[in-house]
């Protein structure tokens, strides 16, 4: 039941709801006045389908809701709708996301600002429903912006940011918000739902300008070209991704001004790092058990440990990551993903972090951890083990730094 509270900053009304991450996203779809959303069920993303359908059925939302015959069509539908000027929403999970892969690739190539969620789910087989980040991460090289949310509130806030950043002319790239299956998509938290007036202040109307596909604006999108054009096209997309860092920073500052939320940095969320010697870094909800472990280990053993949560994976906030992590003796990178056969057999994030810090003269020892795959819960003994190994690496145990550790796996 909605409980009304006044916000300090704007003196406008926002309501409070007990909502899942999926329901929070559906509220964002309503508030962003999305024109077209395409749907096809796969858990855990399908919670958004249900929540959005409910809003429409209850007369609270007006959106063209198209149930496609599969994920590929689903993503093609929003791509085309976006090209004719519709604000769009789409989403999927796990191998459903992969079934749409061709459409996912061309959407980024065409610079169409499609906003999606990827309800992170382990890839099939064996059909586990729990969270793993390899579905989102599979598109990391294609030009999709990839932020990750920690809570249902952040899911809603990030979604509102997503349309603003993606549709900004300097960026004009698709975006996929990573939501951890189950922990975030399917658990209900108390979420502040901003008013339409406040959202309208933050989120301008979508305007594709002279790229709008319309009879009054005769253009052809995506004619076939060859090697004589392709590098310039790719370089343009590269530039858009570079611009995105600035646009995200601006949007974050505005969001904070209007809604009073979003933390200090748009890219990183630091927890108890002020006096920390050793930190762990990761994405999504794994920060929650790690924060509990930090409080416990500080209290029980006086360990100077902290957490850095990466909020945006693409664009990778290299400067911010370097500036933050070089302060510490050792950094444990927790991957809720895998990259079989990669350097040091580490996860995707591990190798990105190592790469970002390579050129630094003073850099921390970096230890990789594969944990929580398929949504396996990161329990407190696992969190302790992660910190103990990272601290050991910081004290010069190089073996700890050169290998990647699987946490909580049965031998």
């Amino acid at each position: 039941m909605a409980v009304e509270v006044k916000t300090k900053e704007t003196n406008e009304i926002e309501t409070e709801q007990l909502a899942t991450g999926c329901e929070a996203i559906a509220e964002a779809i309503r508030l962003a006045d999305v024109d077209v959303m395409a749907a096809y069920p796969i858990r855990p993303y399908d919670g958004v389908m249900q929540a959005a359908a409910k809003l429409i059925a209850n007369g609270k939302m007006d959106v063209e809701y198209i149930v496609a015959d599969g994920e590929h069509s689903q993503f093609e539908i929003v791509k085309h709708a976006c090209a004719v000027g519709a604000r769009v929403f789409v989403g999927s999970s796990g191998v459903g996301w992969f079934y749409a892969f061709e459409a996912i690739a061309v959407t980024a190539g065409l610079r169409l600002p499609v906003v999606a969620i990827c309800g992170n789910r382990a890839l099939d087989d064996p059909g586990a429903f729990g969270t793993e980040h390899n579905d989102s991460l599979a598109v990391r090289d294609l030009g999709w912006l990839l932020p990750w949310a920690e809570t249902a509130q952040e899911a809603l806030d990030l979604a509102l940011m997503a349309w603003r950043v993606a549709e900004d002319k300097r960026v004009s790239l698709p975006i996929a918000i990573g939501l951890d299956g189950a922990f975030l998509t399917h658990s209900q938290h108390i979420v502040k739902i901003p008013t339409q007036a406040a959202v309208d202040k933050f989120l301008p109307k979508f305007d594709l300008g002279d790229r709008l596909l319309h009879p009054d604006n005769p253009i052809t999108i995506a004619p076939q070209v060859d090697q004589d054009w392709l590098m310039e096209i790719r370089r343009q997309n590269d530039n858009a991704m570079r611009q995105a860092l600035t646009v995200i920073s601006e949007a974050h500052a505005d969001f904070k001004k209007i809604f009073g939320r979003g933390g200090e940095s748009p890219f990183l969320d630091e927890y108890m790092t002020d006096d920390a010697e050793v930190v762990v870094i990761g994405q999504g909800t794994l920060s929650l058990p790690m924060k509990v472990a930090i409080r416990r280990l500080r209290k029980e053993r006086g360990l100077k440990i902290g957490l850095v949560r990466l909020k945006w994976f693409r664009p990778f906030p290299t400067e911010e990551v370097v500036k933050s992590l070089r302060r510490f003796k050792a950094v444990g990178v927790i991957d809720r993903d895998y990259s079989f056969g990669s350097p040091y057999y580490g996860g995707v994030l591990y190798n990105e972090i190592r790469s970002a810090l390579y050129s630094q003269e003073k850099r921390p020892v970096i230890v990789g951890f594969i944990a929580g795959l398929g949504g396996r819960e990161i329990e407190q003994p696992m969190a302790t083990e992660i910190f103990e190994k990272t601290m050991a690496a910081g004290k010069g145990d190089l073996a700890a730094g050169d290998t990647c550790h699987w946490i909580g796996v049965r031998e």
Binding site: R43, F183, H186, H189, I190, L286, G375, E411
Partner: protein, 392 residues
């Protein structure tokens, strides 16, 4: 041990039939606690889904004094320790074998020492306790008056089971859920219907508390525990062994899904094969005489056999709480027919002799499957045999 500045409540329920009920209870807990400024989270155990008809599942509500306390309960599938466990069907006290993990657990397994087990039931506390696993820690058994509320996947019977439970919670956890807050929350949820408030008060006043000491309860239930292999010992390629013909799954036994079980009058059986043919779980074994006996370890109590049996009162569905084991009964019939028939009459409440009428006592409460069987054309949403799925 649950943190002092938070309280964890679980609802154990029958998959599909009580999903919406469980969700309503968990939401009402958080919303009632929110009235006095607490924060909270409500969630279903992810591994139970997609739910199967009657298979025990769990949902949770965790209420905390502040966001920091709540974090310990977030990004978890289920609390390892709860303050209160609520079983919304009394046959669940026979143990929980769920879809989310392997084995069977006592209903009180996550309940902390001196915590509570609330059971919605129209039975007396001692009757319920007699079928509950022997306690390892003391707890209080609370009987919230009322039979099990069954409906379909997306619907709820609106019989105020949720509000009665909320009233009972206000009784035992006043520091988290004040009675007035429970009433206010119920009024919100019932969109202003004041009878909801009366149901909260009724649950508050009428829940019967029975302190349970360690050692009380039954040791008659089967122990089911399994060890999972590690990555170095399991077969590569995601492979499991097939079962041999006639062999049943030793790792997952389905009887925990049962609220009622079929008992058979072998004297009136005409050996028509209908039960054997239509049983969705292939529970019937053919006896040397050509009868069909139920393998109770595999029977989920769906009631289809009783529905398709052409002989009146030959297969009768009976309250599961009346039984203490899963042994087959055909051997008893074979050895001593009068004794078997006396047992059949005692359990089923109908006469073993078709020429006579009812055997005296009141027929057992109808279960959802039996309801569906006896009311053709009933609302499909409340018919569990047609409302499965849709949860993917």
């Amino acid at each position: 041990m649950a943190e002092e500045r938070s309280v964890s409540i679980e609802v154990v329920y029958r998959g599909i039939f009580q999903k919406t009920l469980a969700q309503r209870i968990c939401r009402s807990v958080v919303l009632a606690a929110r009235k006095r400024g607490h924060t909270g989270t409500a969630f279903a155990r992810y591994g139970d889904s997609p739910e199967r008809n009657g298979v025990p599942a769990k949902q949770f509500a965790v209420v905390a004094a502040d966001e920091l306390e709540l974090e310990a309960s977030m990004a978890k599938y289920e609390p390892s320790v709860v303050d209160v466990s609520i079983a919304v069907d009394d046959t669940l006290v026979k143990g929980v074998e769920s879809w989310a993990w392997y084995g069977r657990q006592p209903i009180w397994k996550p309940v902390r020492a001196n915590g509570w087990l609330l059971v919605t039931s129209d039975k007396k506390p001692d009757e319920v306790l007699a079928q509950t696993d022997k306690a390892e820690r003391p707890y209080t058994l609370g009987i919230v008056p009322g039979g099990a509320s069954f409906a379909g996947l997306w619907v709820y019977k609106d019989d105020h089971t949720d509000f009665r439970v909320l009233g009972a919670l206000a009784k035992i956890l006043p520091q988290w859920i004040a009675l007035d807050d429970a009433k206010a929350a119920s009024l919100d949820l019932a969109k202003g219907d004041r009878s909801a408030v009366a149901s909260v008060q009724y649950g508050y006043d009428s829940t019967v508390m029975r302190p349970v000491k360690a050692g009380e309860g039954t040791s008659g239930h089967e122990v089911l525990q399994f060890t999972k292999p590690g990555w170095t010992t399991m077969r590569p390629g995601i492979i499991v062994e097939a079962r041999k013909p006639g062999e049943r799954n030793p790792y997952y036994k389905k009887y925990g899904a049962r609220t009622m079980r079929p008992v058979v009058n072998f004297d009136t059986c005409i050996k028509c094969t209908m039960c054997w043919l239509d049983c969705p779980d292939e529970c019937f074994e053919v006896t040397p005489e050509g009868h069909y006996e139920v393998v109770y370890e595999a029977c989920i109590g769906c009631g289809i056999c009783a529905q398709v049996c052409p002989v009146k009162d030959c297969i009768v569905m009976v309250d599961e709480l009346k039984f203490t084991d899963n042994k087959d009964k055909w051997q008893l019939w074979k050895a001593d027919r009068p004794k078997y028939n006396a047992w059949f009459e005692d359990m089923s409440g109908v006469s073993a002799d078709p020429k006579k009428g009812a055997a005296g006592s009141v027929p057992p409460n109808a279960n959802p499957a039996a309801n569906a069987a006896t009311t053709p054309g009933a609302d499909p949403a409340s018919n569990p045999t047609t409302s499965a799925g849709g949860d993917e």
